[in-house]
C-alpha cells in the first residue's frame, strides 16, 4: 500500500480584499494538517490572511493541447474590447 501522504495544492489570500492565489503544494495526511503545514511553509513572513487547501487529485485542468480550440476563438473578437470603438472627442469620457 502506498504510504506517501497525499499532495495538496495551497491557495493563499495575500491580504484583505484580494482573491486566493495558488502558491505551491505540499504533502499532508489530511486537510487539517495541510493547513497547519501551509502556514509553516508558505506564510512565514506575513504572506497571508487566509489559506485554502485542495487535494491535488481533485483538481481538473485543461490540457496544453487544447490551447487552440479553447482560446483561439476569442482572438478574432476584438470588438469585445472597449478600445475597438472610436468615440468622438466632443462626446467626452465614456
Amino acid at each position: 500500500m502506498n504510504t506517501e501522504w497525499p499532495l495538496w495544492e495551497i491557495f493563499i489570500r495575500g491580504q484583505h480584499g484580494m482573491s486566493h492565489r495558488h502558491v505551491g503544494s505540499l504533502h499532508a495526511p489530511d486537510a487539517e494538517m495541510a493547513i497547519k503545514n501551509a502556514r509553516d511553509v508558505y506564510t512565514r513572513r506575513n504572506e497571508g490572511v487566509s489559506i485554502w487547501v485542495v487535494e491535488a487529485n481533485n483538481i481538473s485542468a485543461s490540457s496544453p493541447s487544447d490551447k487552440g480550440p479553447l482560446y483561439e476563438p476569442s482572438e478574432s473578437k476584438v470588438y469585445r474590447h472597449p478600445t475597438f470603438f472610436d468615440i468622438p472627442e466632443e462626446v467626452g469620457a465614456m
Binding site: 505551491g24 495526511p29 513572513r45
Partner: protein
C-alpha cells in the same frame, strides 16, 4: 551553487518536436508540467532540482548544530528562523521536482541511499560560532549568485520556487555577515575565530560553483535548455569580486596570497581551489559525509511511525465520514 556537476541526459526524441521545444525556450516561454518535453530535459531537471532540494535539507545540519549554543537569545531565534527557511526551501524544490513525475518518497530514498548528491559544502563541519557567521555570509552568498539567475530558468515550477527562495535568501546572507562582523569587531580572540572561519570556508565556498568551465562537460546542453544560466567560472568570479570588499570592511584576510585586482580585466585574480579535494568530498570522503547521511537516515527511520500513524488516522476518519453519509 547547490547543484554541482549535474549530468545532462542526451535526448532521443522526435527532431521536429525537439526543434519546437527549443524555439519555445529561445522565446522565453516557460515550460509547464503538462507540456511536452524531451526525456533528457525531464531527467536532467529531476537530478538538478533534487540535488538542490537535498542541499537545502542537509544544509540544516551544520547550522542546526549551533542552535542550542547560540551566544544570545536573539541570535538563537534568528538562527532558528533561518534553519526553518532552509526546510521551506527544500519543500518548495521537492514539489517542483515532483511535477516532473518523481514521487517524494522516491527522491528522498535516492538521497538516503546515496544515489543522489547534495552540495559538497555541507560535508564540512561547523566547529564554533564564527562558522555560523561564515556559513551565512559565504555559503549563502555563493548560493545566491547561482539562485538569482535561476529565477529565469525555463521550467515554470522551478523558476517559481527560485523566486520564493531568493526573496528569503538575502536575510540569510545578511544575518551571517552581521554575526561575523560582531566577532571581527570584538575581542582579539573573537577576531581570531572569525579569521579562522574565513580560512576554512573560503575554498569550500569557491568549490560550490563546481569545476572549472574547461572541465565542465555537461554545461552546453543545460545552458541551451536554460536550466543553467551562467557558467561555473562566471559565477565564481562574480562571487570573488563581491566578497573581497566585504572581507576588507571586516579587516579579514582572504586566505589566498595570489589574490590581486586585475585592472585590465576589471576583476580579481584568485587561486583555484584544490579540485582533488572537491572530487574526494563528492565521492563521499569529506569530513562529514558519513555523519550527514546517517543523520538524514535516522530522521527518516525515526519519523516513520509518525508518518504512518497520521496517515492511518486520516484514513480511519475518512472511512468514518463515508459510513456516516
Amino acid at each position: 551553487m547547490y547543484a554541482q556537476m549535474v549530468e545532462s541526459e542526451a535526448s532521443n526524441d522526435d527532431p521536429e518536436k525537439l526543434a519546437e521545444f527549443q524555439a519555445r525556450i529561445d522565446a522565453d516561454i516557460k515550460i509547464e508540467p503538462k507540456d511536452w518535453m524531451p526525456q533528457g530535459y525531464r531527467k536532467t531537471l529531476i537530478r538538478q532540482i533534487g540535488q538542490h532540494a537535498h542541499s537545502e535539507i542537509v544544509g540544516q545540519l551544520p547550522e542546526g548544530n549551533w542552535i542550542t549554543r547560540a551566544p544570545t537569545l536573539q541570535r538563537k531565534a534568528i538562527l532558528l528562523a533561518k534553519v526553518q527557511d532552509e526546510a521551506g526551501h527544500g519543500l518548495y524544490l521537492y514539489c517542483a521536482a515532483e511535477t516532473l513525475g518523481v514521487s517524494r518518497d522516491e527522491i528522498t530514498e535516492m538521497l538516503l541511499d546515496g544515489r543522489m548528491k547534495y552540495s559538497s559544502i555541507f560535508n564540512y563541519p561547523t566547529l564554533n560560532w564564527a562558522d555560523i557567521g561564515a556559513v551565512g555570509w559565504l555559503v549563502d552568498g555563493a548560493a545566491i549568485m547561482n539562485q538569482v539567475p535561476l529565477q529565469r530558468t525555463s521550467y515554470g515550477p522551478y523558476s517559481r520556487a527560485m523566486i520564493r527562495i531568493c526573496k528569503e535568501e538575502s536575510f540569510h546572507q545578511r544575518q551571517g555577515y552581521d554575526a561575523i562582523r560582531k566577532m571581527a569587531e570584538g575581542t582579539p580572540e573573537q577576531r581570531k575565530m572569525a579569521q579562522d572561519a574565513m580560512n576554512r570556508f573560503w575554498y569550500p565556498s569557491l568549490m560550490m560553483f563546481g569545476p572549472s568551465d574547461k572541465d565542465s562537460v555537461h554545461s552546453a546542453q543545460s545552458m541551451a535548455w536554460k536550466i543553467k544560466i551562467n557558467t561555473n567560472d562566471e559565477l565564481r568570479q562574480k562571487f570573488v569580486d563581491q566578497t573581497v570588499p566585504q572581507a576588507e570592511y571586516l579587516g579579514l584576510t582572504i586566505p589566498d596570497p595570489d589574490l590581486t585586482w586585475n585592472e585590465e580585466r576589471g576583476h580579481y585574480d584568485f587561486s583555484e581551489p584544490d579540485w582533488s579535494e572537491f572530487f574526494d568530498v563528492i565521492k563521499g570522503n569529506g569530513p562529514c559525509n558519513v555523519d550527514r547521511l546517517a543523520a538524514r537516515n535516522k530522521a527518516w527511520d525515526d519519523g516513520k511511525w509518525v508518518r504512518d500513524g497520521l496517515l492511518a488516522h486520516a484514513r480511519k476518519k475518512q472511512a468514518g465520514n463515508l459510513a456516516a453519509e
